[in-house]
């Protein structure tokens, strides 16, 4: 079936604007993760959902970042009052469950540029 999809692929926002990034996980995948990837760095964990429950949001850098997955499938990452330091690629990954074999499949990412 289809892989993880994300939209938009590119987003340019002026400092102070709010943005919403969408993730469509692989159908049937229970676990969903958001990561932030700065230029030239590895992805860094932001938040985790198991179905509709947000079980870990320890990686969200500030209270301007908010994520939801209301029906346990599509997820949205919202960033309020964007700052230049928010410029990065935002990656979504899904996994069938949180159990072995633990495989996470990533989407293509949304590149956010804050000007």
């Amino acid at each position: 079936g289809a892989g993880v999809s994300q939209s938009p692929r590119y987003k340019v926002a002026k400092r102070g604007q709010d943005v919403a990034l969408r993730c469509d996980p692989i159908s049937g995948h229970v676990s969903l993760f958001w990561y932030q990837q700065a230029l030239g760095q590895g992805p860094e964990f932001l938040t985790y959902f198991q179905n509709e429950a947000q079980l870990d949001k320890s990686g969200l850098p500030s209270d301007r970042f908010f994520a939801e997955r209301p029906e346990g499938s599509v997820s949205t990452l919202k960033i309020q009052r964007t700052q230049q330091e928010d410029s990065a690629v935002y990656l979504c990954a899904s996994s069938l469950t949180g159990l072995i074999p633990y495989e996470q499949y990533f989407g293509p990412g949304t590149r956010l540029t804050v000007t």
């Binding site: 590895g42 996994s95 495989e103 996470q104």
Partner: protein, 113 residues
Amino acid sequence: QQQVKQSPQSLIVQKGGIPIINCAYENTAFDYFPWYQQFPGKGPALLIAIRPDVSEKKEGRFTISFNKSAKQFSLHIMDSQPGDSATYFCAARHGGSQGNLIFGKGTKLSVKP
């Protein structure tokens, strides 16, 4: 504190060579170690993964070697090809956590024709 240390930062090999990328970790609670391949403008793609009860795993031209006592693991790419030119990330999963991965900083591999 960087939990997964990856080296080298960049690597250039000739076609047919065997690039080796190394990772080290400190946390013995890690229970799953995947490698991802990322091309520019794309998301990371799962390449191969290993659990700590296994010392080696091969899939096609890719091999992971795992040394539990040294807390190190490495990726070997046999008969490397120009199409293997990409950035490679090692990662580790914290056992008992919700399952998020902790990534190394990446190795940019260039395979010359």
